[in-house]
Symmetry: C2
Subunit: 503 residues, 2 copies
């Protein structure tokens, strides 16, 4: 009765619905069963089935990532390689579990979609739309993975440490950029007749150094707290920054299609201005950021504030025709200066653990290695290009250690070898190059082959030329020294390596 | 010369490309500039612009989440409410920053898309495709958020503790499910003439209790280590499990469209069998899981292994017509039994911090509150339904405390009030109901209004009826006792609350 008194009329709910449905703007489906988002085929994709497809894709990606990383870990190789090769195994080159429209796959040859059709009520009509939605979502998740990866690398980089390690690192970094860049570009143009822009792009890919792989290897060999290790880390940090600026410049050049000096000037200036401006502004603003975050009391405020910052800079970078990852890297570098860095790094680890494998595995899955099959006569020239790039990649970095004069006790060969692995940075180049459409198919695959081989080669070679200190303490991450500046730096770097960079 | 010797012929790279391009399966674009994924409009969506749109959406979502959560935190209200209201502010009801096709929005009235057009080279032709891709990706991210949320709630639930708290919790939980469920369903059918299936659905939504909100409020009032607090937490855990089974059952009923007792039996059986089977199997397998994870050495293996497990169970749940979140919850409950639970919970926090706000803010953004405007005559009956649901929601839970006999020292009113907030579980009901299309527009909004009001009401009311212990120690999370079983339980529950459940 209480309730009856509240009622004005005894209108049934159906009448209300009838009236409300006349208001055109009203609607409240949260997860609409038949989302009209993709109308490419006769029937739209069903949202629960798209979710099911995404969940299955993630399961496959994570399996490939774990198994690949685990095998490489046991073989003392970088885990990122295992993720990449895991992607190759599940992708277009082998099992066809995870294929992409852009990788030459379609819904019919996707084993994942076949499995989805077998286990759910996915109709053949909505198969295509579901496949395309799954493709789209996984591709964006992979891109978010690359953004989180570069954000994490930025957080792990330290401008102050870099300045302290100083001059030697700078020489190694600059020589290690210029020689492979020039060698690769000129070689491709004059020996192979490659047009200028793709030659520059391939040369630029040769200039990168993977700070993640390098730091991981040095940590495993317990060489982070030696002079050689510090020089390599400093140079790798610098190479990362130079590499990202080069990537932005050549990426934009590739978009525009030719080399105009005004464009080069504009791009170098805007890339440098963006990074330096962000850093200067960040140094000015970082106390306020820390203050603001300390004021905030709700859950996850540090991570969300940092992600807002990273995503805004990524967006600005995209808007001014740089790469989104440059913004994420700048945001990471900036937040590395704040007091909250350590806490933030710890929180970003889980995000990177979840998203970064998607990036590497998807790259592997989209890579069609059949073009490198030497049994096909037309492939042989592509292999020769790859062999040339690999040679330049190795020689161009090995030489860098020998440019350091005046310190005879240094293991110069080890420094050069430490700079060899291209890792994720090289893969980012391959990805951007592929996106811009400027790299020919064989050049793209040659770059990926170069990345794979340099990354494979460096760890065992480095192990061979460096005498091994107490291995057991290396495994637990305990530094040799414990109470001086060097040891503190080592602990810092070890935690960088173990927590942040080894994906 | 070294290089020239390696060459077989002096074929230019263009010829190689020409030959390779004849192989139909070859392609290596990682982030294709013109992804042919969405062909609904004259021009396809550009991948970098979709990424830019997703980044902007996330920035807006995180801003809304942070500001809303922060305001609610200061007002001593649950943060989840702030996220929901933040979503309402940026969504279709107010600012139109983030609108969805399913929420009645389109690319023209989306301020985000307008901003994207102003700041990038997004062409009007590809606007629609970019908008739809952005919609699709954000919706899936929101669904992944709900999966991570229920996974986290599962990880925070403890079967053993529940059994220990025992009989009283069970009475409160069962009474607190039956009375609102029956009261709401019967009232809607007999007083309002609502058809049976939507009435059952709305009744089911009334039966939920938000363990997150309840636990957070109790932690703030430092009542987790009192008998009342333990009963409430135990009942809320049980309510969560019952609520998810009910959700699965009524969700499937809604899909099928009518109530057949064989279907009900099948669904109750499959839901219970799934959950119980998973738990029994999990208890059997959990030592092996711990052993496997301990064997794995690569980075992020614990989190990835757990996500694989959660996503497989989510997929199976979807495939047998249950909800994906049920699988995620079961996976969480299962992994909560393993030795790795504490470490895993810590890692999942960051994922939840990143993804769960998307879920709540998107629900808010898709909610069109204009239907509740009493100035429109046709809305008034909807408001009466909401008032009825709110009344049943409050009375049906307050009564539960008074069903506990034989313990006169108990604050029975407080126990009942502690069960009132519906929070995220109620919103999940609204979302599933909307997805199934079975809930009328006014019932959906009435449920959301009920969730908002019960969630708003409980914290201040609970505060009013419970005498406040030393407030300062509550804020630091220090338990009152430190060396007995109760205190250990409290620390455990406090860490559950502070780390896992308060989003």
């Amino acid at each position: 009765m209480y309730i009856k008194e509240l009622m004005i009329t005894q209108l049934s709910i159906e009448k209300i619905v009838g009236i409300i449905s006349l208001i055109p703007s009203f609607s409240f489906p949260v997860f609409s069963q038949t989302m009209p988002l993709l109308a490419t085929t006769t029937e739209a994709a069903s949202a629960p089935l798209v979710l099911a497809g995404v969940l299955l894709s993630l399961v496959i990606i994570y399996f490939a990532s774990e198994i690949g990383a685990e095998i490489c870990n046991r073989l003392n190789l970088p885990e990122v390689l295992g993720q990449l090769l895991g992607g190759v195994v599940i992708g277009i080159s082998a099992l066809h579990l995870l294929v992409f429209v852009e990788g030459g796959g379609d819904s019919i040859n996707s084993l994942l979609m076949t499995f989805l059709q077998t286990t759910t009520d996915l109709s053949p009509d909505s198969l295509e739309a579901t496949f395309q939605s799954q493709n789209e979502v996984i591709s964006i998740l992979a891109e978010l993975g690359s953004i989180i990866l570069l954000f994490e690398i930025g957080l792990g980089s330290d401008l102050k440490e870099l300045l302290r390690v100083g001059f030697q690192s700078a020489i190694v970094a600059i020589v290690g950029v210029i020689i492979p860049f020039m060698g690769g570009t000129c070689g491709l143009i004059y020996l192979f007749g490659v047009p200028t822009v793709p030659a520059i792009f391939a040369g630029a890919a040769l200039s990168a150094t993977s700070i993640g792989i390098t730091a991981k290897v040095l940590a495993e060999l317990q060489y982070l707290n030696r002079t050689e290790g510090q020089i390599i880390i400093g140079a790798a940090v610098l190479d990362d920054i130079i590499g990202i600026i080069i990537l932005a410049v050549v990426g934009s050049l590739a978009k525009i299609g030719n080399i105009e000096m005004t464009n080069v000037f504009y791009l170098v200036t805007s890339a440098a201005a963006f990074l330096i401006g962000a850093i200067l502004l960040g140094r000015f603003l970082s106390p306020y950021f820390t203050g603001l975050v300390n004021t905030l009391k709700s859950r996850g405020q540090l991570l969300l504030s940092s992600l807002i910052f990273a995503f805004i800079l990524s967006y600005i970078a995209t808007a001014i025709h740089l790469e989104a990852i440059l913004g994420a890297f700048a945001a990471g570098l900036l937040l590395a200066e704040t007091q909250k860095c350590r806490e933030l790094k710890r929180q970003v680890i889980a995000l990177a653990d979840m998203l970064v494998p998607i990036f590497f595995v998807v790259i592997g899955a989209k890579t069609d290695l059949s073009v490198m099959n030497p049994a096909v006569p037309s492939n042989r020239e592509g292999l020769i290009v790859a062999a040339f790039l690999i040679l330049v990649a190795i020689l161009g970095k090995v030489i860098t250690g020998f440019t350091l004069f005046g310190q005879p006790q240094l293991n110069r060969l080890a420094i050069g070898i430490g700079m060899i692995p291209r890792g994720e940075v090289g893969l980012v180049f391959a990805g951007v190059g592929a996106a811009s459409g400027i790299l020919s198919a064989s050049l793209q695959v040659a770059i990926v082959m170069m990345v794979i081989l340099t990354t494979f080669l460096a760890p065992p070679w480095l192990q061979a030329v460096l005498p091994s200190p107490a291995k057991d303490s290396a495994e637990t991450g305990t530094p040799l020294l414990d109470n001086d500046k060097t040891a503190r730096f080592t602990v810092e770097q070890n935690s960088v390596v173990e927590n942040v960079l080894e994906s």
